[in-house]
């Protein structure tokens, strides 16, 4: 019944794997609040570390400041440590489920999509998460950027089967 579709998005594979990123256990409204709290922590950090600053992105791509390289580099270092710790100590999710690590298979989208995202990144000074923080920090006009980012996501979904992968 399910038609085979091109499935190159690592996130989809995660979603379709058993349990995956989505918890298979039921979560109610209040259970989801903890994600909002973690989100708020992210929002504060995004603003205070100036990761969402258009100026910092310009500096990064004009090789005038180490700021963003330092942020991304230390995030990778912490990420590596976390991945190592999760594997080593078999850390479970809050619902007590295993945390699966899925390999990200290579496809051409990482080249084309990556380049396109890079262009947009330098224009807007944000990747998807920080867009929300830009809005929250007082730039209401970024709602327009967010709307078009959603549109871009939708268009990708619409034409996914026609794009080279």
């Amino acid at each position: 019944m399910a038609k085979p579709t091109i499935n190159t998005d690592s996130e989809v594979q995660v979603l379709e794997a058993v349990g995956g990123n989505a918890s298979s256990l039921h979560q109610n409204w209040s259970g989801n609040l903890k994600y909002a709290v973690v989100g708020m922590a992210f929002g504060v950090v995004f603003v205070k570390a100036e990761i969402i600053s258009w100026f910092r992105i310009q500096e990064m791509f004009r090789l005038e400041s180490f700021h963003m390289y330092g942020v991304i580099g230390s995030a990778v270092a912490v990420g590596m440590l976390s991945v190592w710790a999760i594997k080593k100590f078999n850390i479970k999710t809050l619902q007590g489920e295993e945390i699966p690590f899925h390999p990200k298979p290579f496809h051409k989208g990482q080249l084309f999509g990556g380049l396109l995202f890079g262009l947009g990144w330098a224009m807007t000074g944000a990747c998807p998460g920080p867009l929300y923080a830009q809005i929250g920090s007082g730039f209401s006009v970024i709602i327009v950027t967010l709307f078009f980012a959603l549109l871009g996501t939708w268009v990708y979904g619409k034409f996914q089967h026609k794009l080279p992968h």
Partner: protein, 149 residues
């Protein structure tokens, strides 16, 4: 992103046909990011102008962008400039590229550059290099023309 699309734009596209309700925590998360940014901007505000390297300052000033009071310059990024050519290119087109590009690449700076590299995935390294290449191309070769509009 994708979850909002799945939730609000039911369109019979296979890519969006999955149980988005299971992923609802994402929406709480981005809601939290927005609130956190409001908190940081209101309660923890930095009263001083954002520190920008002199090179970038001079470069931006040559396009009439001199406002460093916020994290973004209000000159191209405000509602009235949305209707100018410069604003219409930067925000809608930039936003579209961000949305389309991240989904096409299968992840963004956090998914590929931070998590992917942490897990030593070479496709993520490829994606990260492409993000950076796109950014360098835009900033150094295309943006000067857009900002001059």
């Amino acid at each position: 992103m994708r979850h909002i699309c799945a939730a609000v734009l039911p369109s019979g596209i296979p890519y969006f046909q999955y149980n988005w309700k299971k992923e609802i925590w994402n929406l709480y998360f981005v809601g939290g990011i927005t609130l956190g940014a409001v908190l940081a901007a209101v309660l923890l505000a930095n009263p001083n102008p954002v520190v920008v390297t002199p090179g970038v300052l001079n470069y931006l000033a040559s396009f009439g962008i001199t406002d460093t009071n916020g994290l973004m310059p209000s000159q191209p990024f405000n509602w009235s400039e949305l209707l100018t050519l410069r604003g219409a290119l930067l925000m809608p087109v930039g936003g579209f590229l961000v949305g389309f590009g991240t989904r096409y690449a299968g992840g963004c700076t956090s998914g590929h550059s931070i998590m992917g590299l942490s897990m030593l995935q070479w496709p993520s390294l490829v994606a990260t290099c492409c993000f950076m290449a796109g950014g360098f191309i835009m900033t150094n070769f295309i943006l000067p023309f857009i900002l001059a509009l």
